[in-house]
Symmetry: C2
Subunit: 411 residues, 2 copies
Amino acid sequence: MTIPDTVALDRSDPLASLREQFLLPEGKVYLDGNSLGALPKAAMARIEAVVRKEWGQDLISSWNSNDWINLPITVGEKIATLMGAAPGQVISCDNVSINLFKLIVTALQLQMGRKVILTQKDNFPTDLYMTEGVGALLGDQRCVTRSVPADQLVEAMDTDIALLLLTQVNFRDGRLHDIEAITRAAHANGILVLWDLAHSAGVVPLELDRWQVDMAVGCGYKFLNGGPGAPAFLYLATRHQDKVSQPLSGWLGHAEPFAFEPGYRPAPGVSRYLGGTPGILGMSALDAALDVFDGFTIDQIRGKSSAMTALFIDGVRSASECSECRVVTPLVPEERGSQVSLAHPRAYGIAQALIEAGVVVDFRAPDIVRFGFSPLYNSYRDVADALRQLLRILAAGEHLQARFDTRAKVT
Amino acid sequence: MTIPDTVALDRSDPLASLREQFLLPEGKVYLDGNSLGALPKAAMARIEAVVRKEWGQDLISSWNSNDWINLPITVGEKIATLMGAAPGQVISCDNVSINLFKLIVTALQLQMGRKVILTQKDNFPTDLYMTEGVGALLGDQRCVTRSVPADQLVEAMDTDIALLLLTQVNFRDGRLHDIEAITRAAHANGILVLWDLAHSAGVVPLELDRWQVDMAVGCGYKFLNGGPGAPAFLYLATRHQDKVSQPLSGWLGHAEPFAFEPGYRPAPGVSRYLGGTPGILGMSALDAALDVFDGFTIDQIRGKSSAMTALFIDGVRSASECSECRVVTPLVPEERGSQVSLAHPRAYGIAQALIEAGVVVDFRAPDIVRFGFSPLYNSYRDVADALRQLLRILAAGEHLQARFDTRAKVT
């Protein structure tokens, strides 16, 4: 891969114009959009308007006049269009952990007589911690977690299992689950599915309705570019909504929040999964960030994502400098998300040396460097630049410097 | 009360200079800071810096370089100083509803063998809804709610009761509970207390440690001026912290979140009440807003608050135009928060006519108009202007216009 090659690729990229819609860090190649997406210019403008006008001037009337009250639904519906979900099933609220809690409890409610949550041993830790939290609260009689390696999930499906909780794209190695096939297998055993789409939404084609997914959660601040700690989202299929309640029954999930009634009556549909007052600043940024997707398809985004990860993987595998790097992300494009993870005994040093060289990646203990590719703003030139720096660092032994100890950085 | 009188009061007001630190709505008297606090200029500047520099340029590194990771604690400690809480007991996170859930469950955990939550019939609805949610989740064997009128709380205290959950300042009538006395009575019966300080923090003197309060929650967007849907806070006394866990055990409450361990180990102290990733935009605004309090005491703030509410109450009670208005807020300053509530059969019309006249108040069904006084930015002149408009509207019968039907507005 040469620089001219990537210039040609960028020239023919149907998404190339989107890069201009972001304020990117100066002089850097940012490959950590799978951890925190870059800043859309529209989000910057929106936040300034929300602060100065909506909060500063319109103040309390903004709940109506600027439609703050419907923002969780407005934002939810925008995310729904990226996931193959018909209206009325997605809201934006809280964070992933809390939304997991609400939906895990919902699943146990729907699955009377079953109490096991099946999950994957190396699922994202917060997913495991939340099932542990539910189990500790409800007791072994009502909730037990069973974690198995990914390749034993299907055989572990039995009639004790209420819910299968999986993250589609593994945060560490980038491996991608086949939601449709696994959901079908789960349903054949009477098991509901809850998919964590933190590393999928906005970058992997999803057909939640067509695949008959029951529940999903996901993150607003990765590939959706909603800003640091942006509100998360949850999806609950229409067929389940009116059978359930959820325990975090705050006032905005009430059928008539402003009637201030003493007793709780859940709002119709998925809105009952709202609770406390939403953070309007963060949710407004996410709302504006989602407009960047307008006019483009997830298939276009996925096409570019796959091409970028392939280009990077091919570069690593064909370079002698990388002989000690192991590509732990699947080599088959259909089996990976939008990141490439390299295992290396000195991964921490590689990550730090890359960051110093202006290529922003991250490290995951004990030995992984992650390169996240965000098709909305990363260019093919970014891929080439990252690879060039990686090879230079490895050739020069920069990653071996003593100051790059193996202490994990906080990201 | 004449305009010259209030000019003199404003001139001798030790807090008068603070008004300049807010961007107030042009041409309006804003008396709804008990619902949404006004915009501190410092919050506006901070948000712009967080968006453009911290998110836009520094991106993922901001978790360390801009100390995002410690923001829940930084903000919590600032709030702690307003409530008489020593360090290590307050964090900012989530919203009031979710923090109620965490602490209600904690109280039941600490009070093995007791299962009743005692609360007040006209507590803020979300407090009632959350106890209902916990009860529905855990079942009658583990959690039952008992609601009684305010004047029957002490006699209702028996040995079945695990937790007393009260809001210090009632949202409807502004009546203020004596936290110290009620907490003492509760403790005498082995009952833990959880105080909702939504309408207290930042405007009422609090001595949580000295009063031996067990737990508290409160709101960032009312008298703390943190912006719409600002993160809430929770207080848990040190003596309880290491005995408890909480069920919303997300990754940021883990002892080592970035070790990505498969099993949950709670962080030391109150940090275990963190869960998912915090909303950095909203929390940064709150952080900056809290600096407005620097150099002023809560006693100064309370002094001005009491003077403003007294001035307004006296004006209403001495005006013949207000003969149909009933002041439902206690007349004794020590028994009220920083709002005055008037009951009137055409309260909705009064609120709407006031808003049209530029005096921003709110309506609470069925018959209450609320006037919230925020000593940091409201002036005595604001009090006089609001009163003058109220008398004018009542004299002219503006509130009786047909277009002001009794449909509740959404605020």
